[in-house]
Symmetry: C2
DNA sequence: GCTTGACCTCAACTTTGGTTTAGGTTGCAT
DNA sequence: ATGCAACCTAAACCAAAGTTGAGGTCAAGC
């Protein structure tokens, strides 16, 4: 496999912004957060490799899954910074996030089903409605903040 | 229908907090935001009716749907503040939010399916990967910020 | 009648994910 | 060699959804 890339063209911050669909200020921000990395020109201007576009694409996909930038950064740290992420790298990320996504979908679906039930029931009977707190049911779960969590049935 | 409620017991802020599962500071906050309303004792302490527990339950359900407090407040404003929300009131809210929820589920499911495809494809071919920006596809969508939006196919 | 826990207000602080502004520098085209 | 767009940094600002702290008041049991 010969080296087919004698002078890989580096991208300016503006090019990265345009092509990845984020604002220049966001590219700066991602760099500060360590989500992406690049080089500097002799005049101190940012220069990015093409892998950066891919990394930003991954960031934006992950954000749609509801994953925080901090967590995304942690996962991305496992990708090599200096080379284009390979198939195996991406597959590892995708599978990890796939699990998160599944859980969110299950949770929302359960919530929706409860909601459907409650449209019918009118949600005024405290004993039977799965969406409503039966007043003290949450308090009975012990101290600390409680959340109506569709992943756990209310008793 | 006789009045069966000669002296409806009012709840203190602490009782509301305990029974609804939120912090006292959050109850204050919700009141400031107009999500709930109550009365004051002669000594200026908050007193809430039991409908408040129900309203807070609705707030927390809606938050799980990813609805902002501002939007929740807008919807809740359609509920009568001075009486317990009735079946029809709740049904109206639930149906409105049901639509939102459906859309989110569809979006996440589509994202998951794309993710699955990409685990297989390795996501390195710019032309075929539906999750990845085909570099300039987003830029071609006009000015302004762009998001990888799973609800719209990339071309 | 006094102590103690719950309550009050107001203001400041927190985190996340950025954007905006100010003041100054680079780099490319003409 | 000059002009203009694009770039640089640092700091301030924004919104959401609250929490925390300071300083002071209320209510209830003994």
């Amino acid at each position: 496999m010969p080296d087919r890339d004698p002078a890989p063209k580096l991208l300016t911050v503006g090019e990265v912004a345009r092509r990845s669909g984020v604002a220049v200020s966001a590219v700066h921000f991602y760099e500060r957060k360590g989500l992406i990395g690049g080089w500097r020109s002799s005049g101190n201007q940012r220069r990015y490799g093409r892998g950066t576009l891919r990394r930003i694409a991954i960031v934006k996909v992950a954000q749609q899954l509801g994953i925080s930038l901090a967590e995304i950064g942690r996962r991305l740290a496992s990708l090599p910074d200096d080379r284009t992420p390979a198939k195996a790298d991406w597959a590892r990320l995708a599978e990890a996030w796939r699990g998160d996504l599944d859980r969110r979908i299950v949770q929302l679906t359960r919530l929706r089903d409860n909601l459907d039930g409650c449209i019918g029931c009118g949600c005024l009977s405290m004993e039977t409605c799965p969406l409503r707190n039966p007043d003290d049911a949450l308090a009975a779960r012990g101290p600390g903040p409680h959340y109506l969590d569709a992943s756990k049935p209310l008793d």
